[in-house]
Amino acid sequence: MARLLDVLRRDLQLTGTKEGCGEGECGACSVLLNGDLVNSCLIPVAQADGAEIETVEGLGCDDRLHAIQRAFLSCGGGQCGMCTPGMLVASAHLLRKNPRPDLEAIREGLNGNLCRCTGYMRILEAVERAVTIAGEERS
């Protein structure tokens, strides 16, 4: 049976979601399934029947960017960009569950997403920046 990842990338041509390892280790294929963070390389598509799936394409684009996407741009959270979609989805998921995470909560919330370029510092800073941006937008 096809993996959710293949259905997204090949059938729906939503290639924003990436494959890094194919065994649920790297998080490059992270998507939200009914609001839960999952590795789409580990989900048989039958398990997604009737479910609401959210990918990086759903977060925002161009002049309608999600706060976390804007923060990644200004903080340098993405370098090669390959882990970025999964990292953004995981960050957005974290911020929905916990709108004001402290640094330890951010580290824990993103520990299933591997990045080889950044050393994570810019990513952690971007999540903190997104909290500020979201706060400013609310007020």
Binding site: K18, C61, S74, C80, G81, M82, L114, C115, G119, Y120
Partner: protein
């Protein structure tokens, strides 16, 4: 500084596409009628191929099958030597060596087909370690298993031993490291009826692939076109291997007449592609009782794997960096790169320097201990400074002040107070010990010696019909920030907004050859050429009378549009010229090894749990002088990323070998640091602008790979009172070292 754009945090040029998920990487691209390719690889380390059988249950008539006999030109991946076959024909020399290629429209059929191909071998004796290779009982390459050797000598080393107060000896080893870019290697090739071959790929060096494919296919240079697509990390791992996977896709496309895509999965990428060279380095040092270095004898041995690939140049950089940032009145470095029956080791960020700097920086701590001096004091007494010469006889001409750089790093890390406090607390009975250690080091920017002169790089800047400026280079973006930095430089030089500058396509049929994207050369060397080409373009526009000094960006656009409408185009070029006073002798290895060096002091603070043998890094200070910082966010990101890879190499990343094959070729059991393993990495820059780099820039990309491993192991040794001289240092390695008594490095008091 009066610059408007250089030195500012300009937003990553291709960043929007990346955060929207719109950036197109190789596996995101499909062409009509495209087939998928796969590779049948050697299951043994060394032997003769006796036959190939195509097993039952597979519709073989539907497959395109390519062997070495299908190669129209030379069966070779062209790099330095001519020993690396594209496909094995009679002999295999390492596990996972490519033997045969398959293509089919159904991607899912390929793994079954690969498994159904049975290759019969007559096995031959194989060797897997530096020691086995140098013993020479089994010769697997050339006449002596030696790919390359160097001898670097300064003054009279042999005379120094007799007068030395103390002689300190040590042996240091480092393991292989997997790049683990998040995007695996991949390529698509198409071959048109008119005989035009195009290869799109995830790659660093379009013209390396071009050169290799011209030789392989026998096509003329104009008939081969290489296009880099968005590349998901490289770190040197996409310097040489894209010539291999690109060649494989090309052979399948030429035979089938249809486009062919090959994208490795993680297991194949880890098992089959290159890694950092394992090393064994021996130091023998004569030093005075008050800590002045008198002489060094350094022996370097690198494991190059089965074919020479880039090993000669990796070894060159190891050799030149062997003495670290210190003044040696007498030094001899003997180095060799050896053949084993492992997959070839290749380029990885640092390119031989991290191995050498790990050894010398651990050795400096041994020297300090032998003399009863603090580690920082031995370093301070021996730093290179203006007027002194390096191991190759290169005189330091810049206003280098390593002592000041070190004091800043030590102050930022609160080193002195912590070292004292940890010594006191560690003497207690607790099982958690604290340590703090440092490494001081240098990294040469750009190609070694005469390398930049041979590359003879060319860049161009032109104008579009819309009046925008375009940077034309073969230097590629794979996360490090090439696009952004080069556009910042061009915009600054042209005196226009950053948004008005764009990158030309990284396509060998469009851009000139600005050299490979390696060796920390892009900002400094290529950037300088972009700066000068942009300046030339501006001068032409001013001379045309369409533009007057003091122009705005809008006036520039208007003038540019008019110029292009009147003349068709405007393009300015700039070609590399060596800075004055840069001389290098390839034969004696004397002279200016690099046009510039970046300098750094890294300090690591650790906690070692004696019960679990686990190491936690509590704080990390990365202080460097890398010339002018062109973009603080990107530069900081480069340092942090390099430090994280260095932490991985030191404490987490172990390639487990089983008869030349990587046994742990999965992310599940080859561990890289996560968000929870990385300490706060605190990055500081001291800026000493380099006159021959773009706006004062030096190389920066590789530098941060050099310092973490020795700083961390120095800290672990401080914490535990035990000497650890090998990386990676996993808990099981520490446990064995603690449990089994091993000889301490020799100290001879004379």
């Amino acid at each position: 500084m009066q610059e408007k754009i250089v030195g500012k945090a300009a937003v990553r040029k291709e960043g929007l596409g990346k955060v929207c998920g719109r950036a197109q990487y190789i596996d995101d691209i499909s062409l009509p009628e495209m087939l998928h390719g796969a590779t049948v690889r050697s299951s043994i380390a060394r032997g003769r191929i006796l036959g190939i059988e195509f097993g039952p249950g597979i519709p073989w008539n539907e497959f395109v099958i390519v062997t070495a006999t299908d190669i129209p030109g030379e069966n070779e991946i062209a790099l330095i030597n001519h020993d690396w076959p594209c496909l094995a024909r009679e002999f295999v020399n390492h596990p996972e060596e490519p033997i045969l290629l398959l293509a089919h429209a159904d991607r899912h059929l390929l793994p079954k087909a690969v498994a159904a191909v049975r290759v019969q071998y007559e096995e031959m004796p194989a060797i897997f370690t530096i020691e086995e290779s140098e013993r020479g009982e089994t010769i697997v390459w050339g006449t002596d298993n030696v790919f390359k050797s160097f001898l670097l000598e300064k003054d009279d080393v042999d005379a120094a031993w007799a007068t030395a107060d103390v002689i300190v000896e040590g042996e240091y080893t480092t393991g292989a490291q997997e790049h683990l870019y998040i995007e695996n290697n991949g390529a698509i090739a198409a071959y048109s009826r008119e005989g035009q071959l195009t290869v799109w790929g995830s790659l660093q060096c379009p013209f390396y692939v071009h050169k290799s494919l011209v030789k392989l296919t026998g096509l003329s240079e104009e008939k081969v076109r290489i296009v880099q697509v968005e590349t998901g990390g490289a770190f040197g791992g996409k310097e040489d291997y894209p010539s291999m996977i690109g060649a494989h896709a090309a052979l399948l496309a030429m035979k089938s007449g249809r486009p062919v895509k090959i994208v490795y999965d993680r297991a194949e990428d880890m098992a089959a592609t290159t890694k950092r060279h394992p090393s064994r380095i021996r130091h023998r040092t004569a030093v005075t009782r008050d800590g002045r270095l008198q002489a060094a004898e350094i022996e370097i041995a690198l494991d190059g794997g089965a074919y020479s690939t880039l090993s000669p140049t990796v070894l060159s950089r190891s050799t030149i960096h062997a003495g670290g940032p210190y003044f040696w009145p007498n030094i001899r470095v003997k180095s060799k790169a050896l053949a084993t029956n492992c997959p070839p080791h290749g380029a990885f960020r640092g390119f031989g320097a991290p191995q050498s700097l790990f050894a010398v920086e651990r050795h400096m701590d041994h020297i300090a201990e032998a003399l009863g001096l603090p580690p920082e004091e031995v370093r301070r007494r021996n730093f290179l400074k203006p007027g002194l010469t390096t191991a190759t006889g290169q005189e330091i001409r810049e206003a280098l002040d390593l002592e000041k750089l070190m004091e800043r790093a030590l102050a930022e890390s609160d080193y002195y107070a912590k070292r004292k406090r940890f010594d006191r607390v560690n003497a207690g009975a607790g099982t958690k010990k604290k340590g703090i250690g440092l490494a001081t080091f240098l990294h040469g920017s750009g190609f070694t010696g005469s390398g930049e002169r041979y590359l003879n790089s060319l860049v161009a800047v032109d104008l579009t019909a819309e009046g925008r400026a375009r940077v034309l280079v073969s230097s590629t973006e794979f996360g490090q920030g090439t696009n952004t930095i080069l556009c910042q430089i061009a915009a600054e030089s042209l005196g226009v907004d950053y948004d008005l500058v764009e990158m030309g396509p990284p396509d060998t049929s469009v851009v000139p050859n600005s050299g490979p994207t390696v060796a920390s050369r892009t900002s400094m060397v290529v950037g300088k050429l972009v700066q000068s080409a942009a300046h030339g373009l501006k001068q032409t526009l001013l001379a045309s009378g369409l533009l007057a000094e003091g122009y705005t960006s809008a006036e520039f656009v208007a003038a540019a549009r008019t110029y292009v409408a009147q003349h068709g185009s405007l393009r300015a070029e700039s070609r590399y010229q060596a800075p004055p006073g840069v001389h290098w002798d390839d034969r004696t290895y004397r002279g200016e090894a690099y046009a510039a060096y970046a300098w750094a002091v890294y300090v690591a603070e650790v906690t070692v749990d004696l019960t679990t043998c686990g190491v936690t890094i509590d704080d990390f200070v990365a202080m460097q002088e890398a010339g002018r910082v062109l973009n603080p966010v990107l530069a900081t990101g480069q340092i942090e990323g390099g430090v994280a890879q260095g932490i991985g190499w030191a404490l987490y990343e172990k390639v487990v070998w089983n008869r030349g094959r990587m046994a742990n070729n999965q992310m599940t059991n080859y561990i890289i640091p996560t968000t929870q393993d990385i300490p706060p990495i605190r990055v500081f820059f001291a800026e000493l602008p380099f006159g021959h780099g773009a706006y004062g820039a030096k190389g920066i990309g590789e530098l941060p790979m050099d310092g973490p491993a020795p700083a961390i192991l120095n800290a672990v040794s401080h914490a535990t009172g035990k000497q650890f001289d090998a990386v990676p240092l996993l808990p099981e390695d520490m446990f064995l070292r603690m449990a089994v008594r091993q000889p301490e490095p020799a100290v001879v008091a004379l």
